[in-house]
Symmetry: C2
């Protein structure tokens, strides 16, 4: 299934990636073979829990992360299709 992103989604994804914490979260999740959890990620940062929650929410809302609530934990992985579709859009600017 090939995902095509509209311009509003491109904007939202770009905005979500326009923050150092959120970029670092993406990298951590990407580097993790297994699903990551909020608390795993939080451990790497010096931010309030509510702030972390906010950042992760933005990545999920932008569909960059796919989340799955398991018990009291929130697990997530990189949304490969959306990342690829976003990269495709960027590449389409280069003709």
């Amino acid at each position: 299934m090939i995902t095509e992103l509209n311009i509003k989604q491109i904007e939202k994804i770009s905005k979500a990636l326009g923050d150092p914490y959120r970029l670092k979260i993406m990298k951590i999740v990407s580097n993790n073979a297994t699903c990551t959890q909020c608390c795993d990620v939080s451990a790497e940062f010096n931010l309030a829990q509510s702030t972390m929650s906010h950042h992760i929410k933005q990545l999920i809302d932008a569909d960059l992360l796919i989340a799955d609530k398991e018990g009291r934990n929130l697990k997530f992985v990189v949304n490969k299709e959306v990342c690829t579709a976003y990269a495709d859009y960027i590449n389409s600017l280069v003709l």
Copy 2:
């Protein structure tokens, strides 16, 4: 020559792309076979000249556009290397 972007550049590029006007500017420049100028772009928008100038500056500062001052005109094209390098970074999140 292969461009490698550091994380600060990735952040700056993402931020630059996280705005509907700037995304539209990128598309206009991308679609133009020849160099684009500020006044070409401005004609498509309902924004003050100073605002357009500000948006274009952000794209140039993020190295997404390459600018060249010719007389009183500012001409620019898409920076293909940086766009490609950015897309590569995004793809690197998908393993």
